[in-house]
Symmetry: C2
Subunit: 257 residues, 2 copies
Amino acid sequence: MTDGRSNHVSSWQRQEGVHGELVEYREGETVFEAYVTWAARSDARRPCVLLAHAWDGLNEPMRAKAEELATLGYVCFALDVYGKGVRGGVADDNSHLMGPLMADRALLRRRMVAGFEAALRHPLVDPTRVAVVGYCFGGLCALDLARSAVPGLKAAVSFHGVLKPPRLGAQVPITAKVLVEHGWEDPTGPVEDVLALTRELTDAKADWQLHAHGHAMHAFTYPGLDKAEAGLQYHPDAARRSWASMRAFLDEVFEAP
Amino acid sequence: MTDGRSNHVSSWQRQEGVHGELVEYREGETVFEAYVTWAARSDARRPCVLLAHAWDGLNEPMRAKAEELATLGYVCFALDVYGKGVRGGVADDNSHLMGPLMADRALLRRRMVAGFEAALRHPLVDPTRVAVVGYCFGGLCALDLARSAVPGLKAAVSFHGVLKPPRLGAQVPITAKVLVEHGWEDPTGPVEDVLALTRELTDAKADWQLHAHGHAMHAFTYPGLDKAEAGLQYHPDAARRSWASMRAFLDEVFEAP
């Protein structure tokens, strides 16, 4: 299975016992490249976590996060909303990549749905148990996939996500369960955005939870980050607790019939 | 140990394997009566969960909750802020009991501290591992005990608690970790109270988390309750998730050195 689709993967730093491959898919004229990873315990289909990258694209830290999810027993399908080879710098201002998609949320939604559909085609994915998890800009992407109400998506988790509403007209009911892990001092998610999101999710009849972490800033799950003056800081307690909450939440949604 | 202090306990419905006793203590001129319960696995000291009752006082549902906490391995010290024998009706308007303490938060705080100190004197209680959990009015009581910054209190958990600030002057730093489980449609905890609490806890440097549950009303943990027109309704998902979150939180605070 791996042979036909993998390339370049051998040069990445991978966790022991975790397999990975690159998978291409299209939306419109654009080619995207996902990183798909799983622990090789068996060939059985298993629950899938779609992972939506931050504004720098599908870079090494996000692939490492994908492998961490794989070790929990999921297929992690780390999707790509920028296009094959389009990656920003981990430490750079990547507004030029994120901005066009923030300005065209319909396009962003189509790209998220394309990633979701590509994941469903993967032979290890149990198509009845798929969730999406995203970080920063990817948190917004995860929420946008939930907003698309694409059939079969069980859950969406946002870690310190951007919370701006899509403003794409009337929202259909959101059937995916939603968990939002939010740092209360995150300048990219001010309280008015938090409140707007709670109203939007309530109106859309979503089963939603918001976990607010006191003193936590944007990107609170990123070890070593300490740019408090810019509102960016690792917060070990919030990181540990939000990860545990995600695990419990995924257990809940994947075990449900 | 039980013989010297228990009375009336035999008439209560107790979970199998769970012991209970009534314990009297004083604050000022007033005598209070707590219900203390534990699973009799050993005589070793163990972590203690103080349980703060709702507006109806230390009635049967709260004693049942205490026993549920006991089965998790804690000594549960279900305290009493109304006074021995002063109990309201479970289904009644108990404003006449709660109101005077809401109007005199300094008195309420003293009564909470008295309950905490009585718990510390119990021979099964590990005085280095004590937390407080409260429901409705008891959620406010739990937060008020945290606000007292009484030494040794590790954590406070509020389930659909009243969130009104105490307005007792400058707040000292809050050293107990705080978890607030809140129904987003709880009319007793409107969004302005939620936001005021987040500011207060942040200013007090508390390690705090707020879990907001979409669509959940006041008293969302009370099975069978369905008075949606009054903002009171059992919400099974929020009840199950908040209980699991409390357990994880207590594991964290009690296992820490």
